[in-house]
């Protein structure tokens, strides 16, 4: 019961990341459900090294990639709730700012988006994040810096990534 309870305890975090990844509540719940089912089925693979949450997130992300590949293969259109939705805004300016950031994040390439959302929502170490996303740390750093700059430029109205070259600051 201990393992299952620990897995249940991670559901809110999994759901939060899934919703941000999928941009669709129904797909996100399907994704979390698939992840939980697989985790319970593959519990014998849990080596108790590192955090259970990292293991689950890695599983969730892999399933997400598989779903996307399958959807592309079946030429399915991705259901969308018109992008991520706001929970609440304390003021008009803050609400507008949040909307700009969400729109900018929605416009990112999927892999950059996944990396940025993971770091923002869960703040793992780079080593942990790289393991979850199944990339090396150098690739993760590259995706994060590109994503952040793209969001910043879009929010500040500086144009698209293609119009600027990633510059070396010194």
């Amino acid at each position: 019961m201990g393992f299952k309870q620990h897995v249940c305890d991670e559901i809110p975090h999994l759901r939060r990341y899934a919703r941000a990844l999928c941009r669709n509540a129904a797909d996100a719940d399907d994704l979390v459900q698939d992840c939980i089912e697989r985790a319970l089925r593959k519990r014998h693979l849990w080596r108790r090294r590192g955090r259970l949450r990292s293991w689950l997130f890695r599983m969730l992300y892999r399933i997400h990639l598989n779903h996307r590949s399958s959807a592309r293969a079946r030429r399915e259109s991705v259901r969308s709730d018109a992008g991520l939705s706001l929970s609440a805004g304390p003021s008009h300016d803050a609400h507008a700012r949040c909307g700009d950031v969400l729109a900018a994040v929605d416009a990112l390439p999927p892999k950059q988006r996944a990396a940025l959302l993971l770091m923002t929502l869960e703040a793992p170490s780079y080593r942990e994040a790289a393991r979850i996303l199944d990339v090396n740390i150098g690739t993760l750093r590259s995706r994060l810096s590109r994503a952040r700059e793209a969001v910043r430029r879009r929010c500040e109205g500086e144009g698209t990534e293609g119009e600027r070259v990633l510059r070396r600051v010194k």
Partner: protein, 274 residues
Amino acid sequence: MMRWRRRVDRPITDEDLCAFADGQLPPQRAARVARHLRSHPEDADRVHAWWHQEADLRRAVGHVPDESPVRILPPTRARRGGAAPRRGVRSAACAALLVLTVVAVRHWPQAERDDAPSFAVTALEAYRQSGPAEAHNGVALEFAALDLEPVERRRIPLDGGEIAEHRYRRDDGTRVALYTAPAVAGANDGLLRVFQRDDVRAVAWTAADMRYALVGKASASELTRLAVELRHNLIASPSTIAEAPRVESPRIESPPVETPAVGPRAAGTSESLP
């Protein structure tokens, strides 16, 4: 030595600034980036912009709504190694379920209410209206190894039918109640749905042709955990949901079907990270 000096002296890149913003640089490298930012305010502005944007992003999507259904299979089914149904099969199953539900309307007066959300609303209303324990009409179901002391069982007349109420007391003195009623055959989606009215929550699901709702004043995660354990116990022993003797109980007026009263958490109240 030369290789170490080259590594420390290598130019500062956007990736370094990013890693500095994430607190992921080694101390010496972080100190160098900090010195750079002090002398290059335009880069410091960019780092600050990233922090503000991510604060806005967390404010926007950092909460987790309670009303999303999460389907959790019991471990016995999981151990059989059955693969999750393919999405195409699931879509076909949902379509079939919809057809069955439409057909069932003619045979079950409450079929239009025969879904977890409306049953949860009914259970929340029944919980709110239940008073002190009346004359014992049977003991509530016992569940081994669960923090549930059986208190009472009763049947509550509902428009066109009945629901069974099993009341329990927990070790911390709080009270929860499990509500059960027959479901339409085939409406076993297994989804756990969480609802809330004021400070009372309900976790509802349908399985083995029965509707269930666990209601109490506990957190969503705690109630969900308890519901998962109950569900496991009920699947293991389906015959435990037996008919209770008919009794005179206060009539519960089934409330109109309404949107589950779950609102998003207020801004700024997202879960804190460990």
